[in-house]
């Protein structure tokens, strides 16, 4: 099967006030037909720029973009046959909802009766049938969002581009729309390229995600793999709420029997870990808050003082401080009797931790499974 969308060493530089910055820096990836592919990352990392280059709204500084193995690098937006939903929705204010949704078909010169039929179908899919004769300003944010999606899908594009389409919505509506977009994806069978800075959206919706950092993709993987086997410390701390605990650890102990010491704890290394850490004096230890457990003293890796607990509902988020002053977080079901100031004994889940390079942040070991060569 051909690749639906291929970015081939794509770079985009902007020059402002004499300074040149690379908004997207030598990005290469393949997106398969029917994928729900998400670019996620902090503000300014180049997500929108990437999407705009895919749409043809921005030229590439170098590199190539291919749709279905066809080079479209120099094809204009209107000829790329994409559907796009913009972050700020951008419905045509002077047109009715019906005309907004039908616009791509009108431009394509489709007969009126056929347009009406397709618009009805799209409106039905997005449950906005009763809004068709209204103007965009008469609709709520969520409804406008649906209209924008309707306009993007009505022509049944093979590639659908969505730039933070849910960012303007309140939390409840966002969750609702998330499900609806997923359902839509299943129905329309298009390749979706989705941009968000919300890692929850990225993790819950995508078949694969690209974690963007300063114009580069730090990791391209399935959400599960990104969560369990982050390639970099930065990826590990970006994905997951609350963020992964990371602290410095010293590699010490007898030769052939190294241990990690730091954060008030000492951990014996497995043979594989020891081999991977050979030659390091310092490493960074990463443990997800949910991989920490409150245990009886004799099973504990270290002890810590409970500073604050924030109820999340089912579980609590606990702010702890270890003996050497490292702040860490633990998420789990904690007995109600534990009050702030209590001293706790904590164990690290041996199957769920990461060890990172102290300088580059590159992952050296994952507790789950050894990382395959990067």
């Amino acid at each position: 099967m051909s690749v639906a969308l291929k970015l081939d060493n794509v770079t985009k530089t902007f020059t402002q006030n004499g300074k040149t910055i690379a908004a997207v820096d030598d990005l290469s990836l393949d997106i398969q037909p029917g994928e729900f592919f998400t670019f996620v990352g902090a503000s300014g990392c180049g997500k929108t720029t990437t999407l705009r280059m895919i749409a043809g709204l921005e030229t590439v500084s170098s590199g190539k973009i291919l749709f279905d193995d066809q080079d479209v690098t120099n094809v204009t937006t209107q000829k790329r046959g994409i559907g796009m939903v913009f972050q700020d929705i951008a419905l045509f204010p002077f047109m009715s909802i019906r005309d907004n949704i039908g616009y791509p078909l009108k431009v394509a010169g489709m007969p009126k009766s056929q347009i009406a039929q397709k618009v009805e179908a799209a409106a039905d899919l997005l449950s906005i049938t009763d809004k068709l004769s209204m103007r965009p300003t008469q609709l709520s944010g969520g409804q406008q969002q649906r209209v924008a999606i309707g306009r993007a899908i009505v022509k049944e594009p093979k590639i659908l581009l969505l730039d933070e389409p849910l960012s303007a919505l309140d939390a409840r509506l966002r969750t609702e729309m998330r499900t609806e977009i997923l359902r839509l994806h299943r129905r329309i069978n298009a390749t979706i390229v989705y941009v968000t800075h919300d890692q929850v959206e990225a993790m819950t919706m995508s078949s694969r995600v690209a974690i963007m950092e300063a114009g580069r993709a730090a990791q391209v993987d399935t959400p599960r793999q990104v969560f369990r086997a982050p390639r970099y410390e930065s990826v590990a701390t970006f994905i997951g709420t609350p963020a992964m605990n990371v602290w410095d650890m010293q590699v010490t102990g007898k030769a052939g029997q190294p241990v990690l010491q730091g954060g008030g704890m000492t951990v014996a290394l497995t043979r594989e870990d020891a081999a991977a850490l050979d030659g390091f004096r310092w490493v960074r230890m990463g443990v997800r808050p949910a991989a920490l457990k409150i245990v009886p003293q004799d099973e504990a890796d270290f002890s810590a003082v409970l500073h604050l607990r924030e109820p999340l509902g089912f579980e609590d988020e606990c702010h702890l401080e270890t003996a050497d002053g490292t702040d860490i977080k633990l998420v789990g079901r904690v007995p109600d009797t534990l009050v702030e100031g209590a001293s706790l004994h904590i164990a690290v889940d041996r199957a769920d931790y990461c060890i990172f390079h102290p300088d580059t942040g590159k992952a050296l070991r994952h507790g789950l499974a050894p990382l395959t060569a990067a």
Binding site: L57, G83, A90, F92, F94, Y103, K155
Partner: protein
Amino acid sequence: MANTNQAREGAWISAAIAPSLILLLIVAYLPILYALSLAFYDKSAFRPDMEWVGLANAEWLLAQKDFWAAMGRSVVFTLGTVGFQLAFGLFFGLLLNQAIAGRSVMRSLVILPYLLPTIVIGLVFRWILNPEFGVVNQLLLSSGLIDRPINFFGGIDAAMPSIIITTGWQYGSFAVLLILARLQSINPRLYEAARSCGAGTWRCFVDVTLPNLRTTLLLIALLRGIWMFNKFDLIWIITQGGPLQATETLPIYIYEIAFRDFDFGRAAAGCVAIFIILLLFSFIYFKFFNPTKEVEVNR
């Protein structure tokens, strides 16, 4: 209790704005009323008295062939100048909205004609369009486009188009400014959205630019329509309504009744006619185009 309080407050408000209302009445409305009332009197400039004649002035006016001819010329002049200004404004507005070299300089230059006093414009255009030594004729002659100089303001056929272009040129920059301001307030995302829907440049113009400009164009048409229908100064400066009566619009015609024939009563009847026409025009405009709603900016 609350009612008396409100009533007292209302009285205070009335008392507070009364002086300015009265002033406005005296300064603005009384002279207008006086002028309009003259239409029902026989009033000569040379006699202190005036005699009530009812609709006699109006009847006289409506019976004049010259009145209807002037009315026709006014319509032509208004449509011509407003059309010219819209076209001028649209062209330069769109041009200056592009990222072209020297855009900011051009933007300041385009406002210049609007800042020039009318008398200067009148004299300058008489000069450059002069049949003997005007630069336009020189250029046309030397480029071989014409072989006899055109008498722009002096020719029966050329005078009206020439005066329309001159007036349109003077006020065109006003249209450019309004249109440019509106163009710059259009969300660029709308163009991108249109392109992502498959629209090319022309469709973008028709479906994004024009609907956004609609209210601005209507506003220019209304304001400038009224203004141009009343236009007197530039025409008077350049042609005084001539040659023969080629540029004699309603205001010029009325002026001549008042200050050549010194018949203020009949002139006032002419003013009432203009007033009624413009009233009708505005009524139609507000009734059918609903400008207050249109002017709302919704993106």
